[in-house]
Every structure is written in structure tokens, then in C-alpha cells.
């Protein structure tokens, strides 16, 4: 049943959204916003999860959701008061619910002890007096309160058509409707004959039920003969069109029991007087008994005339029985089912409930990936074509060249559009974090509040999927190592509740994720001494504050006094750093003692394409990401100043930036040519630091398709990735920050005295 599986995928997607709504609502309640709408939305979220889970028979999930829902129902009907403690309980319950959802999905297991304990807590919160009796349903007003029109006068037809026919009341004759011609002939087996008398109340019609349909249903059980008694029908001028006046007596032959007959009347229970008796009832008796109830002295004779008529109403008796839904693919516009249980490719941020008019197409993500690959090839192909045309020396104003320009424009637009399909807000990752923060805070005995910013920042799906781990790590680290215990915080004159801020933003063509805490900051003395003790640095090395901070990214570094449950286990920041770097990303830390630390993670917006400047260095073609380049210039000799034994700086307007020869840094050559002979590209690193990169020549800007170097070869320091140029050659894409850092650490002792010897 593919379709059912597809709906299940939808269900789990919806669960994610509902869990997010749930958490969002609870957090709003925590912030004191507990109006009825919020509580209702929270209730609905749990209710919907339960409903869907029931449809798929996910029993443990249904059971837990039910207990949860019961408490929320009590809360929203003000049976129990909302308190901060209750909200905290609800938040923890939402975490358990999320576990149940994951388990139902086959991802992980639920700790049934935790779940049972939570369920017990919820029950107690629902009803503190906790007699384990079933909660009494709120008494509803009795439905079948005396119908208002009972002893008024009758009209035959349900609700609508009634009034159109003025003379209806006059002409109407009691009659018998034979629904099955054979009925009369059938040998009457006493045990199989039933008499059903139906006296509808006006409520029956008000609810759009219909006597004719009831008769039709009865006829499905066996042949029927129906006799209508309209003796209670008053004169026309007294008829209340909304009222019910007639009584039907039905002789039914069926081998089914009373239960089956009662079931026909399930929906009209209370809306009609119903009598089911076994055996043949002499018509007169039935009528007599009914007449006792009905209004006396009807003007029309209550004689039940035996006139077998095929009533038009019943003509359709053998109801067009729709075939039982086989597992056939529906003819309806079923959504294109995603095969993979992956997130929807292009998930519209807001429109989560498409109406019938505006439909959202769900597409297999693989199709989009394929499209993106193809567009990548198109870009390369287009570049090659442009290059060939250039080689033939065709004038830029010629039709051919102009056509090519247009092609390039189009290619770009296609590429942007395709990338936009795959772009998603980081929300999907962020929304998992409040829970993490709660859990880590609980485990470490800290008080932490998470503030999130920029959840709607969009980034390519390929990147989103990789964000979760580093963010998780940074948050854990921030709470475990960054925040002080509530006591320490109080002693330091801070709010005992620490604040951790998680933010996403776009900066110079990359996505930047910041995790900021207001804790104690990095203890530089300790970090330094640990690094020395572990032999990571030599004791006499002089380091700047920033450099000390960054020691925590060194492999094998861990500052925790004891390996804690949370951020210990040997997985340190070095792992985070490496996984981030593998994505062409960077991570850095800034810390101020007593005021907290900020981790900054930056990643490319997409792992698919890049705008770059193509340059020549020592005979090699390199691509420098355009996003890093501030400007390009040809330095004059007097702008270059030596600095120290090996370095030199370039005066750019009123500041100096370090001059870095790319060829030297990447070991393409061991001697730098004079910077004045080359071209200088002023670049800006992730942390805002600037440098002047020296290249031999610039070829121009180009959009390149990124081909991973790690996947196809291995990671190379200073190189972010590779690409294929228009002429088919492979070019390396420079990792600008890495190049700056390589230079900072100092190149392996240079043999030549100075970079700028040539004056």
C-alpha cells in the first residue's frame, strides 16, 4: 500500500510541525502568554498527533498522547489552573511525546519507565485526587430534550423539499411501499419477520437525516413493506413546515437480528420514536398503539390502504454501493509521493495547510538533486562555449556573442531558481534545540534559557542537514562549560538563569551560526596550562588571548575537570571543527572573561556552486571565492613595508594588511616574486581580518560548480574544493581563511630573507 506509506510519511512530517507548534505554544505559555488560543493550539497539536497515530495503530504513542491530551483538555477548560510548574511539566511531557513519535518512526526507542512515570505525573496533574476512576465526561445537556413540535402536525418529507409543494398535505394518501416485489410471496417465517415503527421528530430532519434513507437502509436487510400513517397531519393552515407529523410502520423480513436493525437507526437515536418488535403486527394494532400517542381526531382516515406502489423515493433502493476501497491508487490528484522518508524538498515556511486550490507538490528530493547536478553541468558547458567563442575572436557586439550573454543570464537564473527549490529555513534544525537545552541544563544543574534568532534564514538543504551536529555540540559546550552554576552566578551578581543565544544570519554569501553564552568565559590560564601539560604547545610559546581561546579546538583537548555526561566522552571541539571544515566551513571563538563566549560557525550557503575570481599563481589556475574579495589592486612599491624578518605589509588607504603570496603559502614556489609585479587581491576572512593575497594574473570572474576535493581526493590545507573550468581543466578553489591562518602560523621557515626584497 504505497499510498498509505506516503500518508505515513506525511504524518511524521506533520508530527514534526505539530511538535514544534506544541513546544512553541508551551514556551509562549512559559513567557506568560497563556491566552485561550495558545492553550487551544497546544491541545490541538497533541490531539492531532494522537488522531494520526490512531489511524496507523501506533499504540504506545496513542496512549501517551491521550493522557497528555486529557490534561491539556482540563487546562483549556479551566478545570485546573495554569502554573509555571505545570508548564514545565508540559514541556517535559512534550519531550517524551517527541520520543514516542521518533520511536514510532523507527528512530530510537522510548524509555518506557520514563514514559510511564511521565504519564503518571500527567494523570496526577489532571486530577490531583487521582482516584483511578475514569474521568467523568462533562455532563452534556440531554440531546433528546423534548422535541418542540411533537404534538403539532405532520409533514412527510424531510427538511427541504417540503414547502415547495402547496397541496402536498391534501393529496397525501397513506400507502404501503413495497420495496421488494417478492416480499409478498415470500413464505413468512415467523422468526424472521419484524415490525419496525418509526416516528421521526423534527430534530431528525434538522440534522439532515431522512426517513426515506432509513427505509432504504432497512430494505438492505431484507424485503420491507412500509405503511405510512399521516393521521396526525393537521390541516394545511396549521402545518408547521419544520415539524414532523407522520409515522411509518415497516414490516421487515430479515434473517438478521435486532442488533442489525437498531444499527440502522444509530444516527437518529433520540431523534425518533422507535419500536422494534418481532413478528407480524396487525396493521391496526400498530396504528392503534401509535394513535394513542398521536394527536386525536385526524381528518383523514387512518386506513392503511394496501397499495403497493414503488415509491420514487425508494427507487434508488439498491444504493449505488461504492466499491470497498481497495488498495488502488486513487484517481484523485494524490500528491506526488516522496519515496524517501526525507524532509520535503521545498517546504514552504508558512503555508503548511494547502487548501484544495493551492496545492503543494511534494517531490522526491533525489529528483531535485539530479536537476541541480544537471544545471551544474549546464553552467560548465555554457562557460566552455563562451570560452571557445572568445578564442575565435568574435566581437562582443556580434549577434553570437550577445546571444551567448543571454544564454549565460538564463543559465544563472535557472541555477538560482533551482537552488531556491532546495533552500530551507534553518528552523527545522533550530526547533530541536530548546529541548536539548532543557535536557543539558537539567543534567548539569544549570539554569539556562535559550533565545533564538534568525530561524527563517534560508540555506541549501545540503547544508541544513549538516548543521545539526555542530550546533548541538556548541550548545552543549556553552551550557556545560560556559554557564556557571546558579550559585556561582548569584555570587557574581548575575541572574541565576543563564542565557544562551542561538542565531543564524547571512553574511557575505555564507551562513553564520552564532552560539553565545553569558557565562564565565574561557579561563585562559587553565587552557594554556592544560595545553602545555598535554604537550599540545611548548611552554614558552607566547600566545595572544585569541590564540589561547582557539587552543580548545586542538585535537585531544578537554578542559572539563571530570568527564561529564554531556560534553565529555572524548568528543571535543576538535571534532566539531573538523566536521565543519569538511563542509568548507569555519568555526571560531571569542571570549571575554566573566562575560561569556561566542562561538561563530560559518558555512557556505550551498555546497553546489560558487562565484569566484579565476587567477594565475605560479602557472596554476586557482579560484578565489568572490565573497571574500574586497577589491583588487596593483600595489606601488612604496606601499609595501617590510615587517619582521620575513613578513611584509601593504598600506591600503590608512591601514596596513599582511601581504601573503599564495604561491609561497601553497608551496608552488619557494621564492616570491615582487608583489609589484603581480596583482593583489584584498580579501576579508571570516573573523573580519584582512589580508592582501598576491597572484600573478587575474583571468576574471566566473561561476564555478564545486566538486568536493575530499570526496574525490583528500583534504588539502588551504584548498576548499575544486572545479572544472570552461576549457575542461581542473582548478583548485582557495580557502581564504585557511591561507590567512597558514600565513599567521608562519610558513615553514622561509629561505629567502624577505618577501619584498625587491624594492
Amino acid at each position: 500500500m504505497d499510498e498509505l506509506e506516503a500518508i505515513k510519511v506525511t504524518f511524521f512530517q506533520e508530527c514534526e510541525e505539530l511538535l514544534a507548534d506544541l513546544e512553541g505554544g508551551l514556551l509562549a505559555m512559559q513567557d506568560g502568554n497563556d491566552d485561550g488560543d495558545t492553550v487551544n493550539a497546544v491541545f490541538r497539536a497533541v490531539h492531532s498527533i494522537k488522531g494520526g497515530a490512531g489511524a496507523f495503530g501506533l499504540e504506545p504513542l496513542v496512549r501517551f498522547a491521550h493522557v497528555f491530551e486529557t490534561l491539556l483538555d482540563a487546562l483549556r477548560s479551566n478545570e485546573i489552573p495554569g502554573t509555571p510548574d505545570l508548564t514545565a511539566l508540559l514541556l517535559r511531557a512534550s519531550d517524551v511525546l517527541a520520543d514516542h513519535v521518533s520511536a514510532a518512526r523507527g528512530l530510537g526507542v522510548v524509555d518506557m519507565d520514563v514514559s510511564a512515570a511521565m504519564a503518571a505525573e500527567l494523570k496526577i496533574a489532571t486530577d490531583p485526587n487521582a482516584a483511578p476512576a475514569a474521568p467523568a465526561p462533562v455532563a452534556a445537556a440531554p440531546v433528546d430534550a423534548a422535541p418542540q413540535y411533537v404534538d403539532a402536525a405532520p409533514i412527510v418529507i424531510g427538511a427541504d423539499d417540503a414547502l415547495d409543494d402547496d397541496d402536498l398535505g391534501f393529496d397525501f394518501q397513506p400507502m404501503t411501499i413495497t420495496l421488494d416485489a417478492q416480499a409478498a410471496d415470500a413464505a413468512v417465517l415467523d422468526g424472521n419477520v419484524w415490525t419496525v415503527s418509526i416516528r421521526p421528530k423534527s430534530d431528525l430532519y434538522r440534522k439532515a437525516n431522512e426517513t426515506a434513507l432509513l427505509l432504504r437502509e432497512l430494505s438492505r436487510l431484507g424485503p420491507i413493506q412500509a405503511t405510512l400513517d399521516d393521521s396526525a397531519l393537521p390541516a394545511l393552515e396549521f402545518i408547521d413546515p419544520e415539524a414532523a407529523y407522520v409515522t411509518w410502520s415497516v414490516r421487515l423480513e430479515t434473517d438478521q437480528g435486532e442488533e442489525a436493525i437498531r444499527e440502522v437507526f444509530e444516527f437518529v437515536d433520540g431523534d425518533c420514536e422507535l419500536e422494534i418488535t418481532r413478528g407480524e403486527a396487525p396493521a391496526a394494532d400498530v396504528l392503534a398503539s401509535l394513535l394513542d400517542v398521536a394527536a386525536p381526531a385526524p381528518e383523514l382516515a387512518p386506513a392503511a390502504i394496501e397499495a403497493p406502489v414503488e415509491a420514487p423515493v425508494v427507487a434508488a433502493a439498491p444504493a449505488p454501493e461504492p466499491a470497498a476501497p481497495a488498495p488502488v491508487s486513487a484517481p484523485a490528484p494524490a500528491p506526488v509521493a516522496a519515496n524517501a522518508p526525507a524532509a520535503p524538498a521545498a517546504k514552504p515556511a508558512q503555508i503548511d495547510v494547502p487548501g484544495p486550490g493551492q496545492s503543494v507538490i511534494r517531490v522526491d528530493p533525489e529528483r531535485i538533486d539530479r536537476l541541480i547536478d544537471l544545471v551544474g553541468e549546464l553552467v560548465i558547458n555554457q562557460a566552455m562555449l563562451a570560452q571557445r567563442v572568445g578564442e575565435y575572436g568574435i566581437a562582443p557586439s556580434s549577434n553570437l556573442a550577445m546571444g551567448l550573454d543571454e544564454l549565460e543570464q538564463l543559465t544563472r537564473e535557472i541555477q538560482d531558481s533551482v537552488m531556491a527549490i532546495r533552500a530551507q529555513p534553518v528552523k527545522s534544525v533550530f526547533q530541536r534545540m530548546p529541548r536539548l537545552v532543557r535536557e543539558v541544563a537539567n543534567m548539569t544543574g544549570k539554569q539556562a534559557r535559550l533565545v533564538m534568532d534568525g530561524e527563517n534564514t534560508e540555506v541549501d538543504k545540503t547544508v541544513i542537514e549538516r548543521l545539526s551536529d555542530p550546533i548541538t555540540h556548541m550548545l552543549r559546550n556553552a551550557i556545560d562549560h560556559g554557564l556557571e552554576s546558579p550559585e556561582e552566578r548569584k555570587a557574581a551578581g548575575k541572574n541565576p538563569e543563564g542565557v544562551v543565544r542561538l542565531a543564524a544570519l547571512h553574511r557575505s554569501g555564507r551562513i553564520v551560526i552564532e552560539v553565545q553564552d553569558d557565562g564565565k568565559g574561557i579561563n585562559r590560564e587553565r587552557v594554556h596550562s592544560i595545553a602545555v601539560k598535554k604537550g599540545l604547545i611548548s611552554p614558552d610559546l607566547q600566545l595572544t588571548d585569541e590564540e589561547i581561546d582557539n587552543l580548545i579546538f586542538l585535537p585531544g583537548f578537554s578542559t572539563a575537570d571530570k568527564i561529564s555526561d554531556v560534553s565529555g566522552r572524548g568528543v571535543g571541539m576538535d571534532v566539531v571543527k573538523r566536521s565543519v571544515q569538511a563542509l568548507g566551513g569555519r568555526i571560531s571563538i571569542a571570549s571575554r572573561p566573566g562575560q561569556g563566549s561566542t562561538f561563530t560557525l560559518s558555512l557556505p550557503l550551498t555546497l553546489a556552486v560558487l562565484d569566484g575570481m579565476v587567477v594565475d599563481v605560479a602557472g596554476e589556475t586557482l579560484v578565489i571565492p568572490l565573497a571574500c574579495i574586497v577589491e583588487s589592486l596593483r600595489p606601488k612599491a612604496e606601499e609595501i613595508r617590510p615587517l619582521g624578518p620575513v613578513g611584509s605589509v601593504l598600506a591600503v588607504r590608512d591601514s596596513f594588511v599582511p601581504l601573503i603570496d599564495v604561491g609561497l603559502t601553497l608551496n608552488y614556489r619557494d621564492r616570491s616574486p615582487a608583489a609589484t609585479e603581480g596583482v593583489v587581491l584584498l580579501v576579508e576572512g571570516e573573523d573580519g581580518s584582512r589580508a592582501a593575497l598576491v597572484a600573478d594574473a587575474i583571468h576574471g570572474q566566473r561561476q564555478v560548480v564545486i566538486k568536493s576535493l575530499e570526496q574525490n581526493y583528500q583534504q588539502v590545507e588551504g584548498v576548499a574544493a575544486a572545479t572544472i573550468l570552461g576549457d575542461g581543466r581542473v582548478a583548485l578553489i582557495l580557502d581564504v581563511d585557511a591561507v590567512i591562518n597558514l600565513r599567521r602560523r608562519g610558513p615553514p621557515l622561509p629561505s629567502d630573507p624577505t618577501l619584498i626584497a625587491a624594492e
Binding site: G54, H66, P137, R206, P322, A324, P325, A330, A334
Partner: protein, 121 residues
């Protein structure tokens, strides 16, 4: 003649389930995501039968049913509510509002189609 069924439910999963069952049985299905939306779709599609959830944002099932029942154009349309076994009081309230019948969740497709047949002319 193909009958049109309007399903009103804020849960996409439930709407999909209903659609699968109904379309498989040859019904034409139109959908709405809450009571307010349901009233809009109602006038655009004139369904033969309505199936509605109770708990919904904006306008809930009770309000929706009441709104349908006071409209002379639509009040004769049978309405089935989706309800749960555990909630007899909700069923009662829905009936008072004017629901024709009900479907207990989780429903099986045959029961669903059966319930529609029972109330559809």
C-alpha cells in the same frame, strides 16, 4: 453521478487518509483546513456530504456545523463528524449542533463509506 464529499480537518494526515478512502470508493473529494475555510469551500463546491473534525483552529467543528445548519442553502447537507471513542460528550455536542452522524476515529475505509451511504441521498 459522482458524489462530492467535503472533508474539513486541520490535520494533513487525516485529510490524506480521508481522501484515500473516499477517492478509492469513487467519491470526488474537496478539502478544507478549518471551519472557516470549510464554509468557503462549501459555497464553491456544493458537496453532497460533509465530513468534519471537531478540534480545529479559527472555527471549530461545532461552530462549522451550526453555521451550515442556519444557512437555508446548505442545511439539508448531511454532516458526519469525526469523533473518538473516548469522547461521548463531544459527540453529543456535535449532534446538538446539527451533525447527521459520526465516524469514530480511527476509522476503517469500509465503515467510512458505509456511513456516507447511510446519510447520502
Amino acid at each position: 453521478m459522482t458524489r462530492t464529499v467535503l472533508t474539513v480537518d486541520d490535520s494533513r494526515t487525516m485529510r490524506d487518509m480521508l481522501r484515500m478512502a473516499l477517492a478509492g470508493a469513487g467519491f470526488n473529494v474537496v478539502e478544507a483546513v478549518d471551519g472557516e475555510h470549510g464554509l468557503e469551500v462549501l459555497s464553491a463546491h456544493r458537496p453532497d456530504v460533509i465530513i468534519t473534525d471537531i478540534n480545529m483552529p479559527k472555527l471549530d467543528g461545532f461552530g462549522f456545523i451550526e453555521a451550515v445548519r442556519v444557512d437555508d442553502d446548505y442545511r439539508a447537507i448531511p454532516i458526519l463528524v469525526l469523533t473518538t471513542e473516548s469522547d461521548p460528550s463531544k459527540k453529543q455536542r456535535a449532534r446538538e449542533a446539527g451533525a447527521t452522524g459520526w465516524i469514530v476515529k480511527p476509522f476503517n475505509p469500509e465503515k467510512l463509506v458505509e456511513a456516507i451511504r447511510r446519510v447520502a441521498a
